[in-house]
Subunit: 348 residues, 3 copies
């Protein structure tokens, strides 16, 4: 798995500095050894360069002074990400299609697809070239799975779910389960059948044990390049734009629409039927109960503009003291009024 530094320079399209060396792995500056490639992400970490034992470092031109072997980059973090790809081993240890899997005779699975034991593929399901289905995956009837898709163990696709190319779904995640819809009736709650479906576009990645519901009618939709973390919940008929980031434990309630490049930090909740504009960012643990304009930052529960929330939260810390000051003022003013009225009485 080793590469020479000059080979890495060539594959990453970066100028090399210093002598060539063999690189066996990747590590942060503090833990890297003489056979590791590391990186310098910013001025804050520059002092580590002196003590690091790294065999080579990806860094900006200005930090070259005194460094042995290096690759020069205008964006070291991005180029290190690309270097990592050359050292990462894909998960898994099998190829081919296991005879301990169940593949419905009326499904269409490309010969190049890897199917682990205990995979279930239903009727009229299609799985595209180069995809991998790990142990315990369930693909319901009429599902469409694109090319080079990876479904990790125990991922579930309910009927009619469609997935683009180059999608990754981490273990235990459920796609296309019923939305949560009931109508009150005389005897309790009548289930609203969920007859819509779920469509996931190219290059989406979804974390472990997440849940994305099918639409009641129509389609729940996740746009291309969007990244969704572990334990996220997305309700029925939600539409998520392209290149969004939904961090762990976020919940988006039914029929809400997120624009492109929206960021929702950890544990954020979005109420139902809202619209969030392009490029808006919502801080961790916020609760959003109204539609949000794009291009801005929001925070708090109920969420307001982030700068405003910072001022509010600062005020909270002064609240007990403000209460005392208010009481003191009232007392002082009452005293003053009493004094004035006494003086007036004396003057009369």
């Amino acid at each position: 798995m080793g590469h020479t530094l000059s080979e890495l320079a060539s594959r990453l399209g970066l100028p090399m500095h210093g002598s060539d060396t063999v690189i066996q792995g990747v590590a942060g500056l503090e833990k890297a050894g003489p056979q590791d490639l590391s990186f310098l992400a910013g001025a804050k970490y520059a002092p580590l360069l002196k003590t690091s034992r790294a065999g080579a470092v990806i860094l900006q031109q200005e930090y070259l002074d005194g460094v042995g072997s290096a690759l020069i980059s205008t964006n070291p973090y991005l180029d290190f990400t690309r270097a990592l790809r050359l050292f990462a081993t894909p998960q898994g240890c099998l190829t081919g299609q296991s005879d301990m899997a169940y593949i419905h005779p009326e499904s269409s699975v490309d010969d190049s697809v890897t199917v682990y034991p205990f995979v279930f593929i239903g009727k009229d399901a299609q799985v595209g070239k180069g995809s991998t289905l790990f142990s315990g995956v369930y693909v319901g009837e009429n599902c469409r799975i694109g090319e080079r898709v990876v479904l990790y163990p125990n991922v579930v696709l309910m009927s009619g779910t469609s997935i683009g190319n180059d999608v990754i779904v981490h273990p235990g995640t459920v796609l296309g389960s019923d939305g949560f819809g009931y109508t009150p009736c005389a005897t309790g709650l009548e289930k609203m059948p969920q007859v819509g479906n779920l469509r996931i576009d190219d290059q989406v990645e979804i974390g472990a044990n997440a849940a994305i519901d099918r639409a009641t009618l129509g389609t729940t939709h996740i746009g291309a390049g969007t990244k969704i973390d572990n334990l996220v919940q997305i309700g029925h008929n939600v539409e998520v734009g392209a290149h969004c980031i939904l961090v762990s434990q976020v919940g988006v309630a039914g029929s809400s629409k997120l624009g492109n490049r929206v960021t929702l930090a950890g544990q954020v909740g979005i109420a139902d039927h809202l619209q969030l504009g392009d490029d808006c960012r919502v801080g961790a643990k916020s609760g959003v109960n109204r539609s949000l304009q794009g291009g801005r930052d929001y925070l708090g529960s109920p969420a307001v503009e982030a700068k405003k929330f910072m001022r509010i939260a600062a005020s909270w810390n002064r609240l007990p003291e403000m209460g005392k000051r208010l009481a003191a003022l009232e007392k002082e003013l009452a005293l003053l009024k009493t004094q004035l009225s006494e003086e007036e009485n004396e003057q009369q």
Copy 2:
């Protein structure tokens, strides 16, 4: 799968208006085509009637004017829910009991039960008539599953869990796992064995990747008709009444008791050992740290009555400005006092 409108009128018990037509599917007013049945839920959407291409609409008598084919209803939303049932296809593509499943010889599984490949059914487990167990379901020893129950892929029932009739459990949900109980001891934390169980009554529905724990002693209980959404956590010894609604990512801590028809909105947390009265409703993201009277709405963390929280949250927005006003008052009053004392000195 098509139905004539007159047939639908008869099956739903609704008067038909206009000419008969063949209905192939269901859709909202905006997307419906000439072969779709749609519905008008309220005055707000009435303008859509004029432009909708729907073949027929379920609506109230008062909106009939100018409409072609229709079914007349006093509760269009509920009747549309019922119509949906006639068009919904149940999930799944197999029948019978797969020989790729493991069914313990000392279990009792009715002949009418559908058992997918890779299902595990343990010793002394019982599964009632017409139930369906999808791929990857685990039914522990001594479990009791009623009739017409659907357990979607990878649902897990730990030992001794009992489930009533007409229950639906969505993929990946875990029922009857150990409660979270430890006793501090000299060497750390001693596990409290969880020897109780979990009982789920008729017509309960539970979403994907939820977790409901068995009791430490006794029984964790979910009452009839209650609906639980994805990723909900219910702790040991919790008792949930009948016809409750627990929205996604709710957490209910150990030994708390919910009455009937309680609604907990998304991401609500209920602390342990609390009691929530019948018909109380808790707004999204609230944190409940005391018992709540029934029949009221609550909001906030810590939760208070919803109206009160609305006033508090409105005050938060004014807090930074209130701080300034308070400081201005203090300054003004101090100034006034100085002036008065100077005047007094002059007068003396």
Copy 3:
């Protein structure tokens, strides 16, 4: 499964009081019958002693008066926990290694390991003595599993995950999935390969449907004796100390470090790259956005010291009224100033 009380006394090392009796089970004071062992945890429950039908009670010496059979303990709750162990039946109904499982020929699984149907064990994985792998468990390549480990149904260990001895993992939990790391680039978000791993020490217990990510580089680490509840999320490169308690639905973001004996109550969120000192405790639903000193209690979002938060939350309840008092003061002061200026004019 019955035991005589004298046998229990001997096994628990506790003095017996009253006559010997046969104990068949365990229950709380209110539900216990003549063949049950119960316990008295504190003065609050002492009145129940008179009406309880329990066959025997574990209690402190001072409550012996009037009690029939008893075991005398200085820590009844802990000794009852230990007694429960003698009555608890381990889950499961199979032994041996099922030929419906897939065990890679180049893995190393001890003969004493129980392997259920539909278990997958990958290349170069090791499973130690006396461990049990329930149905649907996936053990990726190069995993190390210690002795007496229990992996409940559908638990997933991604490649290279290592687990100590006496670890319990509840159903559906995912260990060692990719961390959530992306680098912005011209075309969207570039996946940062996650080439690190996950290490879990002895006597850790992890609840159902939780997710713990592998490190980007290096190791995500869970210290010995730590207990993690259902639906908890732990990000890449997090380090959790020994004997911590992480209650349900907690989320800990990437690279944060928890000391020893840290308690995070339900639904707490910890932002990334923070440090929490030994023995600090964070109350339910708190959001922590800065590092916390050990040995203290915190609450709120953003979290502050618990006592301070209690004062702040009390102030919230008075906020609407404070707003009115502030307005009243302003009005009163303005009026006073007008009066004084009028008086002054009169005097001139």
